[in-house]
Subunit: 374 residues, 2 copies
């Protein structure tokens, strides 16, 4: 994997990431296909919406259909029919948030599968092995992620365990490193600046191909998240990509890019699409609202997304109210496209060194109100 | 509307139906978009699968979002974004099968809306008016459909009421008949040959633009259905299309075409797709079955449908087992495409006067087993 930093504008960075399955333009937003599928969206639609790279979840795939099975079938790219780059998380976050009866010790995390109740052991070495079987272009270290608020002692313990697991993941990953594939480390430390700095410094000493900031967007206020990015990003090497995990809203993205983040992932576009919410340059539009019921206009006549540009709001409203799958399908595409258009605008603005003005203009658009009334 | 009978082969008929929104090649299978949406399928995918015409349901649309609302928004074509021909049923069948507290009298059927509990009156005149507001290319008369088995007296009463309602629909429809739009009558009479014949003869005397056979596929054996078609079809005018409502399986379609039917509609392709079943030239394939879990092969390498031709069975199995929407989306497209491919084969065979041989070969394919084992 090769990362080229093409341009900067303040702390904001424009780059490209070369992977075995193609180039990722950064700042990049990665839509999430948790179970090797994007909910309600065809893969060609993800590509057409402008996404270079997608994320899939080790935790879900190791339980069903199983990493060995996907490996035998030629890896995740062949299995699900997405030919572009794939980043997989390590399973750590989902073990904490989704599984029962988990036990973390030095060696591994042990938990009960939500699919069949089996006891599963996930060690740093196994997490790397699973991601190798999946054929991920970018693999993540196994970490322990603690929900906020949390005690400092617990945050410190988890951060230090994650450091030792980073080292073990690196040792497991590098001996037969498949050509061009990368392993990223994850900075932990909760909302404690000193822990964040210590985590970042020690991981940088270990020399990873990329660095994620994890354990944020887990219940803390946005200011805390931004403060932790500010503590961390300046310590990370300029020539490696920086990935803020599980983030976020369009506003989170702009403010994080301004602080030096290159990559994001989040389920918001598809999850909120399923709940009747459309992201637009006018801000979020709730299609459940009765004001749309006789509105023949599209969400945004100037959108690059055909559905946002052509489908009547009245029809979207009907589909959402009638609980028709097509409503979730349409709004998920609209939202994936909006997030990609947002990032495309961000990249163009950084290239022209007008990122701050651009971000202000985008933000002002969200609060200036929807399309004028008919 | 204009129907051209191009060719016959035994009782099987090849034709074209010209509507204000384009030509329908018959025999035709109409996929069903009940609530102005095809469950899990984009409209362009319905077209690409080869469908010329779709069906939507008056009963659902009159309750939500309402016929006047769709009319105000430019009709169903503009509302849902399907530019081809649309046939709408009259609501009669769904009132019987879906609504509570229904009361049928000479004037109308009165029922309680399943959406908001409101009391709704549907008369023959209102059914026609609703379908005019929807902008249907083909409207259906209001009828009373009785579930089988039923007493002869009840079947006779409902058949005679449906005849009087046919007359009222015709009177309501014709004065300001929108150019090219058609109204079809519905033959009733349950499983009683004499009632079927009487219904057909009296409707033919009224001179409709097309004739449907209703009240079948409501629980009776296939032989009964085929026997009723045999009683009815020969009485219908050669130069008018014949539509068998709510039918059916691929086998039903072949056997009904052989008895002179030109049009069909059914929810089977999408409903069974949502339940993990794929229709193929090898017969139905249940993707839930564990035998597919490591099978890298597609459903059918020779299918004209890209998904049937390319997507690994192992992935389809995973999507169905993991309850991912994409599984239902894929299998619904596969099934709509299979039904359209089936009808395309039927049309080609009638044109070449080899329909009986073709139907035998297709049927033999279903029982010859799936793709050979790897």
């Amino acid at each position: 994997m090769n990362f080229d930093l093409l341009s900067t504008d303040g702390a904001a960075r424009l780059g490209t990431l070369e992977t075995p399955h193609g180039t990722v333009r950064t700042p990049a937003f990665m839509p999430v296909g948790t179970q090797a599928a994007m909910k309600g969206v065809h893969w060609h639609e993800v590509r057409e919406a402008g996404a270079d790279i997608v994320l899939s979840n080790t935790y879900h795939l190791m339980l069903r259909p199983g990493a060995e099975r996907i490996g035998k079938l030629g890896g995740l790219h062949a299995f699900m029919g997405w030919s572009g780059p794939i980043l997989t998380d390590s399973g750590g976050f989902q073990v904490m948030s989704l599984s029962d009866l988990r036990k973390v010790d030095e060696q591994a995390v042990t938990f009960r599968s939500h699919v069949d109740g089996a006891t599963v052991v996930l060690s740093p070495e196994r997490a790397v092995d699973i991601q190798r079987l999946l054929g991920s272009d970018i693999a993540m270290q196994l970490d322990e992620c603690v929900a906020l608020p949390a005690e400092r002692a617990d945050l410190a313990r988890a951060m230090n365990l994650s450091l030792r697991w980073a080292e073990r993941c690196k040792r497991a990953f590098e001996p037969d490193l498949p050509s061009g594939r990368a392993l990223f480390a994850i900075v932990q430390g909760g909302d404690v600046p000193a822990l964040r700095r210590e985590s970042a410094q020690k991981l940088v000493e270990m020399d990873f191909q990329g660095y994620a900031i994890g354990g944020l967007a887990v219940g803390e206020p946005q200011e805390t998240m931004l403060a932790m990015i500010e503590e961390t990003a300046p310590l990370l090497p300029e020539d490696r990509p920086r990935y803020l995990m599980g983030v976020g809203t369009p506003d989170d993205l702009l403010k994080s890019v301004a602080r030096g983040i290159d990559m994001f992932d989040c389920v918001l576009p598809t999850r909120n699409g399923r709940h009747g919410l459309a992201y637009t340059r006018f801000g979020p539009v709730n299609l459940k609202n009765a004001r749309h019921q006789e509105d023949p206009r599209p969400l945004d006549p100037e959108s690059p997304c055909r559905i946002a540009r052509e489908v009547p709001r009245a029809y979207l409203h009907h589909l959402v109210r009638a609980n028709e799958t097509l409503g979730a399908m349409y709004l998920s595409i609209v939202n994936i496209a909006y997030f990609q258009t947002l990032m495309q605008g961000v990249r163009a603005a950084i290239a022209e060194r007008r990122f701050a003005d651009h971000a202000s203009a985008v933000t002002a658009g969200w609060s200036a109100g929807d399309l004028p009334a008919l």
